[in-house]
C-alpha cells in the first residue's frame, strides 16, 4: 500500500505504551494508508516499548488482536515507523539497541521527525501527539 500519490500526510507521535493510546495510534496509521495518504509513526519515550522486538505482542486489548499484528501490517503497508531515543543512555536503560528493534523500524531523532513533519504541516498535513 505504498503508492502514495496523494500529497496528504499524517505524522503521529506516540509517547505511550498504554494500550488505549498505542492501539489508537496504529488504527489511525492503518486508516491513513487505507485512505491513500502517507503516514509516519514516530515512537519516543514509552512509545518505544512498541517497537522493541516482541514489545508490541505484549500489548493487548480485550476483543482485539495483539498490537504486533497492527504494527506489522502498518509497516508492510508502507507506514514509516521510527524510534527516537533522546540519548544513548536512555535507550540503553530501556533495553533498546539497533539489534532488538522490530524489523522495518529505523532510528530517527527529533530533527529528522521535524524535517518531514514541518513541510507536511505547511501543506495541510496532520501532526498528532498520542
Amino acid at each position: 500500500m505504498s503508492e502514495q500519490k496523494e500529497e496528504q500526510e499524517v505524522h503521529i507521535v506516540l509517547i505511550s505504551n498504554e494500550p488505549g493510546r498505542a492501539y489508537s495510534a496504529l488504527v489511525l496509521a492503518l486508516g491513513t494508508v487505507t485512505m491513500g495518504a502517507k503516514c509516519k509513526l514516530y515512537c519516543t519515550m514509552n512509545g518505544l516499548e512498541i517497537v522493541k522486538k516482541g514489545g508490541a505482542s505484549k500489548i493487548t486489548m480485550p476483543g482485539a488482536p495483539s498490537l504486533d499484528k497492527y504494527l506489522h501490517d502498518a509497516i508492510e503497508a508502507g507506514v514509516q515507523v521510527t524510534a527516537c531515543g533522546p540519548s544513548k543512555e536512555m535507550l540503553k536503560q530501556m533495553g533498546i539497541t539497533a539489534d532488538n528493534l522490530e524489523p522495518g523500524v529505523e532510528f530517527e531523532d527529533v530533527i529528522g521527525f521535524l524535517t518531514a513533519a514541518l513541510p507536511a504541516s505547511k501543506k495541510g498535513g496532520m501532526v498528532l501527539f498520542i
Binding site: V27, G31, G63, A77
Partner: protein, 101 residues
Amino acid sequence: MQQNKIVIKGSYTNVDNLLQTEDSKIERTIDTRGMSCPYPSFESVKAMKSIDTEKEGYCIDIITDSEESALKSIPSVCEKRKWQFVVLEEAPGLWRIRIAK
C-alpha cells in the same frame, strides 16, 4: 445476487454489469466478519492492489458484519480510489460489497 437489496451504489458504478458478473470472474472474496476497525477497509484496499486491474470484468466481493464499514468506510474508500461498488444487504447485519475497477 439481485434478490438482495441494494443499499448503496457508487457514483462511477455500472450496477447491472457488476451484479451480473459471472462467479468465475469474482477474483477474490474476502470475509472481514469479526474484524476490528479499520481492518475491513484495510483488507479491501489490500485486495484491490492484489488484483490485475487491467483485466476486464473482474470483481472482488467483500463480506462484512460491520455496519460502519458496509455503509460508510468501504464506500468512501472506493469513491476515493475511483472503484465501482455496490453494497447489498444479504441478511440483517450482514453485507456483501461487490467492487471493481
